[in-house]
């Protein structure tokens, strides 16, 4: 770490705040975000209804497109960036994502295991007679 870097230490940014740029550039940023979001949304609606692509790939494609669009929203609308003034915001987001992945992945994993190991319902009913 050089002295120069430390002297140029910037204060943090609040989530949602941008570094100071002109109004035109900021509007342009939102327009780019809107354009990308519309493109990704249109693609996922198109893929869901088409039979032009290999059918088993459709769920994966929809999930990938959704994650990409969430990224677009985070960067262009919420202004969560990788800059040094945004470290706290990104770390909080990373922790949130960890919990979300644990909750969703864990539930699906455990419940599919239980489903797999459970006796079929008609056999269960016969045992209770």
């Amino acid at each position: 770490m050089s002295d120069v870097e430390l002297h140029q230490h910037q204060p943090d940014l609040a989530p949602g705040d941008e570094e100071h740029v002109s109004v035109r550039l900021r509007v342009l940023g939102y327009l780019v975000g809107l354009g990308l979001a519309i493109l990704l949304t249109a693609t996922s609606f198109f893929i869901a209804g088409t039979d032009l692509v290999w059918q088993p790939s459709i769920p994966v494609a929809i999930i990938v497109l959704a994650i990409a669009q969430m990224g677009v929203h985070l960067v262009f609308f919420l202004h969560i960036t990788t800059g040094p003034d945004n470290t706290n915001n990104v770390l909080a987001l990373a922790f949130g994502l960890l919990i979300v992945l644990l909750v969703i992945g864990g539930s699906l994993w455990i419940m599919s295991n239980l489903n797999h190991n459970m006796m079929p319902m008609d056999q269960l009913m016969q045992m209770q007679r």
């Binding site: 989530p15 949602g16 705040d17 939102y30 979001a37 949304t41 929203h73 919990i99 969703i104 539930s107």
Partner: protein, 211 residues
């Protein structure tokens, strides 16, 4: 640098010490960061509803499945409404920072209009489902569906009330520092709702009608 200076500060900590004396962060950053943490906890709560929906997707108890119920055209219109509303909200944040009363009120009114259009379509869809006998008590799948989508709709309704409050406060009190902090939090909230809606239309509607 002289030898004495090197001895006094061998690891150049003097520079760090200056940074440590900057004092606490400005209130705007503390407020925004705290609200960001709240939003992330809200997203964690939504992830539980998403997990429940994914687990119960096939449990229709002989009732209708997603493919038979969902109308993807109206979902596409809803998505467009919410996306444009989020964009207008961004314009309102810019107007607030530029201290432009006129543009702020116009952008917030547009945000509100698209938000209300979204809610109207969603309400119409729910009423239609209940009228067709596919209410939340029909099957575990529909319970999970109404809980998840209804929870998002409830957030949007609360957001609209907050939006109208912000319009009134800016009108009555002007762009004071505390009002601007509330506006920052509102913009974060509204954009976060749009992110959750991306997950809703992908997982609930598109994947749900494919399954």
């Amino acid at each position: 640098m002289t030898m004495a200076a090197v001895h006094d500060d061998p690891h150049h900590l003097g520079v760090l010490a200056n940074i440590a004396h900057e004092g606490p962060a400005p209130k705007r950053i503390v407020t925004g960061y705290g609200f960001w943490i709240f939003l992330l906890s809200d997203i964690v709560m939504f992830s539980c509803f998403f997990a429940a929906y994914a687990v119960l997707l096939g449990q229709t108890a002989g009732g209708p499945s997603g493919a038979q119920l969902f109308n993807l055209k109206s979902v596409a219109v809803e998505t467009t409404c919410l996306l444009l509303s989020s964009f207008a909200c961004g314009m309102a944040s810019i107007a607030a920072e530029e201290r432009s009363h006129l543009w702020f009120q116009i952008a917030m009114a547009v945000t509100c209009m698209f938000g209300l259009a979204f809610l109207a379509i969603e309400f119409h869809e729910f009423a239609d489902l209940v009228a067709r006998g596919a209410g939340p008590s029909r099957s575990a799948f529909l319970t999970a569906f109404f809980t998840l989508v209804g929870c998002h709709g409830g957030h949007v309704s609360a957001g609209i009330l907050w939006l109208l409050t912000m319009m009134a406060q800016v009108f009555a009190k002007g762009f004071r520092a505390d009002i601007l902090r509330r506006m920052l939090c509102f913009a974060l909230f509204w954009h976060a709702l749009d992110i959750i809606w991306v997950a809703v239309f992908s997982v609930v509607y598109l994947l749900g009608s494919a399954a």
